[in-house]
Symmetry: C2
Subunit: 221 residues, 2 copies
DNA sequence: ACCTGAACACCGTTCAAGT
DNA sequence: ACCTGAACACCGTTCAAGT
């Protein structure tokens, strides 16, 4: 990092690294350089240390990614379930969930595909949500499905947000008239209203899901 | 593959490879061995060929993955938009979309994070969906947001389906009573009804989204 | 306990040489 | 045009040696 002179082998008098320092550095590099910046070797280089030194503090790359996930997940708001009606709380929760990951776009693709090792904080979050759903009248055996469905949408929306905004651009061609028209119309509407296509799709989707869930709960299913 | 004797260098009398053969083989290996089986070297080995030989037919790994995506996407049903009301068609489309990827679980994580190079078939699909939505009364500038929202959910649900069914298992602990209870209740309900947790969450989610969209369209919004 | 240094077993990709 | 063979520039990870 700032060290200049070559360090001799052997244990340093005071530790150079810690799990926390490694995770913070990895997340920062991820933000600065994208997915490529989060390798064991890159993190080590940034810390002015040999790659093998990291293994004294993290179990390996998978553990590193899991640690980053926890760092980000800590930003998710679960208090809302104690303060708001279940449907409003669900939206508040989803919004903060999305915001937490949207603050670190390059992490999304990385975290999305790394299976999560269940940690206690995540379980506490699920507990809060389940409690609110059951209290609101959802059958206990269906509560998790509701949560998983919303998380699926959040994950997909986060991946979408991390992608190129012009991803769908059909380009100049005349065999997809309606599609081209809709693409141009969306562009105009977004330019006038502000915000990006991913934000708009997220808002439509989360509102639709929660509205649909509300209707299902009322109708008895 | 079946060849035994070492081939001499130089162009073979009849080509050993083709783009199609390479893509088919890669998809098969992906299914058989998981994400690890789709490397350039693995595909080459399976075809009894040197890795560098593949570059005569595909541009590289990214092109390979893009080709696999197209192979799978061809299974998505878009005819339903000409035959059914928009909301029913949306569900039919989503179901076939999901089924296409669910048939190849290991591909999902791979495809989810590889940015898609817009090909013409995908654009044709979007065109069909936009046409149906606009015909049903959706504002042209909002049609794409509806599609993107549903695709986000599909992508997330597909990732979820590819994950470990017991992923959320809180294990034995007494500080998340409601969560543990819901987990056990879900397990019992699924054992009785059949199907996996991912299927249940998908069904709840897609039905809720489309119900919410239907309500939004009717209410004018 | 916690670092260096050297090694191992992998990747994807390039390119000259051969037919 | 389409393959082999050798190389290059990467990965994550292990482990003995040093303090």
């Amino acid at each position: 990092m700032e060290e200049q002179g070559r360090r001799r082998a052997g244990r340093p008098r005071t530790p150079l690294l810690s799990r926390e320092l490694i995770l913070d550095t990895a997340l920062r590099l991820l933000d600065e350089r994208g997915e490529a910046g989060a390798g064991m070797r890159e993190v080590a280089r940034e810390l002015g240390v040999r790659p093998s030194a990291l293994y004294n503090h993290v179990a390996g790359r998978e553990d590193l990614i899991g640690g980053i996930r926890e760092l980000i997940s800590d930003r998710i708001d679960v208090d809302c379930f104690e303060e708001l009606p279940w449907d409003e709380a669900l939206i508040r929760w989803a919004d903060s969930y999305r915001a937490a990951f949207a603050a670190h776009p390059p992490t999304i693709a990385l975290l999305a595909t790394t299976p999560l090792t269940p940690d206690s904080r995540t379980s506490l979050m699920y507990d809060a949500v389940v409690r609110a759903l059951v209290r609101a009248g959802w059958p206990e055996e269906r509560a998790l499905a509701v949560i998983v469905a919303i998380e699926a949408f959040l994950l997909g929306a986060a991946l979408d947000a991390a992608a190129d905004p012009d991803m769908l651009d059909p380009g100049p061609r005349d065999d997809v008239r309606e599609f081209s028209g809709a693409f141009a119309a969306r562009k105009r509407a977004l330019a006038a209203a502000g915000g990006g296509p991913a934000d708009e799709a997220y808002r439509i989707g989360i509102d639709a899901i929660v509205a649909g869930l509300r209707a299902e709960l009322i109708s008895g299913r």
